[in-house]
């Protein structure tokens, strides 16, 4: 089955741009990325788009389709009516480079600000022992393909450029939760309390659990329920528990 679809694609660069109209062939089983590729091959050879694996595993082809942040390779054309106009625009939260390609360096900057895994002292490689049930929580977050759709949709930064310096975004708050829940992470031995740092250094407090990130996650990771809320709880527990408070002061003094 083949039909002709009406597409509106944002074209432009840092100086601005607008939606342009295209009539393009659609075949059975195709996804939005196939249509963008057909446009490139037949009508607009220099239409800029990022993509890579085309199987929902690399998280490169993020864009907004009819206003919703999605992976173009996993958005089937069959979810639209044949006569429905399909509008494809670049991720709104990040600066446009050209057409559907945005500057996502915000995310790489944030990644660098999260202190890395700290290996446990005295446990040589090959001697790590962890139970499946204990690694599963962090494993869920490690399914993240870094498509940055959650970063794009999060209202804390979506229309608030000013929050970008102090807020790591759902992806990297989840990274902190992942390390915090890693059975062998030894950050605490170095005086780093990850949950407290999420609150103090990475803007966890901005999150008011509207779950937008969880809703659009193409990997169906329960970002809010399994990462952000537990992280908030741990941060708050520490803050209001006088024993923990005292303990942390004493330990810091020893260092």
């Amino acid at each position: 089955m083949t039909h002709t679809a009406h597409f509106k694609v944002w074209r432009g660069d840092t100086d601005g741009g607008d939606l342009q109209d295209y009539e393009v062939e659609v075949n059975d089983g195709e996804v939005v990325l196939d249509i963008i590729h057909r446009l490139q091959a037949t009508q607009v050879a220099d239409l800029a788009v990022r993509w890579n694996c085309k199987a929902g595993k690399c998280g490169s082809c993020s864009a907004e389709v009819n206003g919703r942040p999605r992976l173009m390779c996993m958005t089937r054309m069959s979810v639209f009516e044949p006569d429905e106009t399909v509008t494809v625009t670049p991720l709104r939260t990040f600066p446009v480079i050209r057409d559907l390609v945005t500057d996502v360096s915000f995310n790489y900057d944030k990644a660098r600000q999260v202190p890395a895994f700290v290996p446990p002292k005295g446990v040589p490689a090959g001697e790590y022992r962890m139970q499946q049930v204990d690694v599963e929580r962090s494993q869920e977050f490690r399914k993240c393909i870094e498509c940055f759709l959650c970063q794009d949709t999060c209202h804390v930064v979506r229309d608030h450029e000013e929050n970008k310096t102090s807020f790591a975004g759902p992806r990297f708050l989840m990274r902190i939760a992942e390390l915090d829940m890693h059975p062998l992470d030894a950050a605490a031995d170095q005086g780093l309390v990850r949950s407290a740092s999420a609150q103090e250094d990475h803007g966890l407090g901005y999150c008011n659990i509207t779950k937008c990130c969880t809703e659009i996650c193409p990997e169906h990771i329960q970002i809010t329920d399994n990462a952000l809320i537990p992280l908030k709880e741990r941060a708050i527990d520490r803050k209001y528990d006088p024993l923990v408070w005292l303990g942390s002061k004493i330990r810091r003094r020893q260092d």
Partner: protein, 663 residues
């Protein structure tokens, strides 16, 4: 003189997949200022697509496993054409490379006693693949990526600059490896045809189109494979044979280019996802292959060399999953080349599915919940892309171009490319390790073992040069710039002989599609002499037309231009594949000749070596119709005696000639 951005590093790594990142980590840890260059964003490399696992004989699930067993399996899988020293190093070092990942934060699935779990896979005698569900490649990439970030954090703490010693240049394409002038090299050996040491790389920034040079005495190629030369492939757009072509153009030979692995199970429906991989874990965890008659046909396709190792009946095969000591393994888990050929035959015999594949069924073999737990990505992929629920129905699958066994001819211990001092190669772009066919799971371990070695020896080489660094001439840089920018002012049609039609500007997308069709149809999974001759002819025409590729628009993030540049590499590599495949008149591993169906022990002793011809060295690497690639046969090094002693003589006789055995 061309205006280019200029940087200087000690080691440049081209490619940011598993091998590239592992090489970069090693070079940086050895104190080298290291640059990584990749075509995609950092963390998106094709390694993320690897599903099944990392093969390493840790013996966590079956304590009988050790490096010798892994070595044997690898050699059998490659039909003994493997560079045996690489196979040995790989089998010995893989466990350390996996354990090291845990110290960098990786979280593998666990055994009941808390160690790294290992799963069964085709061609591996014991459960050997460390894994994370069916997204092991993602875990590998993320772990290496995060290790790089942690090294950058250390540098930041020390110097205030994250990129002081290790920088990732993302979304950049390298178009040339630069070398110093050979004439400046006193007494260079005559067999080193292009002389010259590596002096750096030339490339452009995809985002802006800016040209750049990185001066560096050591370059590690880690660019992956060539799958985008084929129509049906599991490979991503980045797999355009860049490293293979860069090595050739720098004067380094390639070996084993006739061996391409067609993975037996790619998706066949819908058309837009045709070729996307269905992990071998589906079979490792109990999935079976059936034809349209409902028959488990693999029992009819066990070749003689594997007869003793595989089950003869469904009952015996099914018993193996729970009691492997007393049952032989199911034939669905034969090496990939065998399974791919069997599927091809079934479809050809009219026993295929409606969309031209066979059925891969796990729904009748495992409870739904277990399938979702063990194969989450596959469940997700089929649900989202094909509307198929794999817990309730069978998948339709067929062969897809998956992996290039051939590549840069390297020194086994150091990963140094032969003939070009300062050039190194690791991972899929390097040849030899996997012989004529790679076992599943041996790729991720290969990346880690030889990525580390390439980084280590590149660092040693760079350090050993001291202040005496080779430098590329301005003429070389000017020529590289002109070559990269040519699609914007494509060659004018020749006035004389050719008609206006023939001289018209060419669309890079059209040429790419035609190339893919030629390779798929004429140099694909089953090959015939006359078809490959035809392919070579058509590749010549395509190459000539590629000179006239013209692109619209400007240099800023222009995919038409990017493809035009990559076309040169795909055409060069395709010629290597077709020439080598035409020359090898036998069938072995990832090379199946309809007109020469048998495996020939005399051919086992021979590597086919591809090199750029003298004319092509002269500059016109995308020149006229004439051959650019020269081919020669080279005898393989005899396998070391203690390694041969790991096999029964009876088995060796299937692969090695009597003279080799009696030596």
């Amino acid at each position: 003189m061309t205006q280019v951005e200029r940087h200087a590093y000690d080691v440049v790594v081209v490619g940011a997949g598993g091998a590239g990142l592992r090489a970069a980590i090693e070079a940086r840890e050895r104190g080298m200022r290291t640059a990584v260059i990749c075509k995609s964003l950092f963390g998106k490399a094709h390694t993320v697509m690897a599903e099944g696992g990392i093969a390493a004989s840790m013996g966590n699930v079956n304590s009988h496993d050790n490096w010798q067993v892994h070595f044997r399996d690898t050699m059998r899988g490659g039909k003994f054409l493997n560079q045996w020293r690489m196979a040995e190093l790989h089998a010995k070092e893989a466990p350390d490379r996996v354990w090291e990942l845990e110290t960098w934060g990786a979280l593998f699935d666990r055994t009941a006693d808390g160690r790294i779990s290992q799963r069964n896979f085709g061609g591996h005698e014991y459960p050997r693949l460390a894994h994370v569900g069916d997204r092991t490649g993602l875990e590998l990439i993320r772990t290496l990526q995060q290790k790089i970030v942690s090294l950058q954090q250390e540098d930041h703490a020390e110097t205030g600059d994250y990129e002081a010693r290790l920088k990732v240049f993302q979304e950049c394409t390298v178009t040339r490896v630069l070398k110093d002038d050979e004439r400046s090299e006193m007494g260079a050996p005559p067999d080193r045809r292009s002389g010259g040491k590596v002096a750096g790389v030339f490339g452009y920034v995809r985002e802006s189109g800016r040209l750049f040079v990185i001066d560096a005495p050591a370059v590690v190629l880690a660019t992956g494979g060539i799958g985008k030369s084929f129509k049906v492939t599991s490979n991503s757009w980045e797999y355009t044979g860049d490293g293979h072509a860069l090595a050739l153009l720098a004067g380094a030979p390639l070996i084993n280019m006739e061996f391409i692995q067609f993975h037996p199970t790619g998706m066949v429906w819908p058309p837009s996802v045709k070729g996307i991989l269905v992990t071998e874990s589906v079979r490792g965890d109990g999935g079976v292959l059936r034809n349209s008659d409902g028959e488990r046909f693999m029992f009819g396709y066990v070749p003689d060399v594997f007869k003793e190792k595989y089950a003869q009946s469904e009952e015996e095969a099914d018993g193996w999953y729970t009691d492997p000591d007393n049952h032989r393994r199911p034939p669905e888990l034969l090496p990939r080349d065998e399974v791919a050929r069997a599927i091809n035959s079934e479809v050809k015999a009219g026993r295929g599915t409606p969309h031209g594949g066979v059925y891969l069924d796990v729904s009748t073999r495992l409870p739904a919940e277990e399938i979702r737990r063990r194969l989450p990505s596959m469940h997700h992929q089929f649900k989202e892309l094909a509307d198929v629920d794999i817990t309730a129905e069978a998948m339709e699958v067929g062969p897809t171009c998956h992996y290039m066994m051939g590549g840069v001819d390297v020194e086994p211990d150091t990963a140094a490319a032969r003939g070009v001092p300062g050039l190194f190669a690791a991972g899929e772009v390097a040849g030899g390790m996997h012989g004529s066919n790679r076992l599943g799971g041996n790729s991720l371990s290969d990346l880690l073992v030889f990525g580390r070695r390439a980084g280590l020896f590149a660092a040693e080489y760079a350090a050993g040069l001291g202040e005496q660094r080779p430098a590329a001439s301005e003429e070389q840089i000017d020529a590289a710039a002109a070559e990269a920018l040519r699609p914007f002012g494509a060659e004018e049609p020749a006035e004389s002989a050719e008609s206006a039609q023939e001289g018209a500007a060419e669309n890079p997308y059209t040429l790419h599609q035609e190339l893919q069709q030629v390779m798929n149809d004429l140099v694909g999974i089953i090959r015939r002499g006359p078809e490959m001759e035809q392919a070579l002819e058509r590749l010549g025409v395509l190459r000539e037309r590629s000179r006239r590729v013209a692109v619209e628009g400007h240099r800023q993030f222009n995919p038409g231009w990017h493809l035009a540049v990559d076309l040169r590499n795909m055409l060069l590599v395709s010629e290597c594949v077709a020439r080598a495949a035409l020359e090898r008149t036998e069938s072995r591993g990832g090379h199946t000749r309809d007109d020469h169906p048998g495996m020939d022990r005399d051919w086992r002793k021979v590597n086919l070596v591809c090199e750029l011809t003298d004319e092509a060295q002269g500059g016109g690497a995308d020149g006229g119709k004439q051959a650019l690639i020269g081919l020669r046969q080279r005898p393989m090094d005899p396998i070391r005696a203690d390694l041969l002693a790991l096999f029964e003589r009876e088995e060796l006789l299937k692969y090695l000639t009597d003279e080799e055995l009696d030596r």
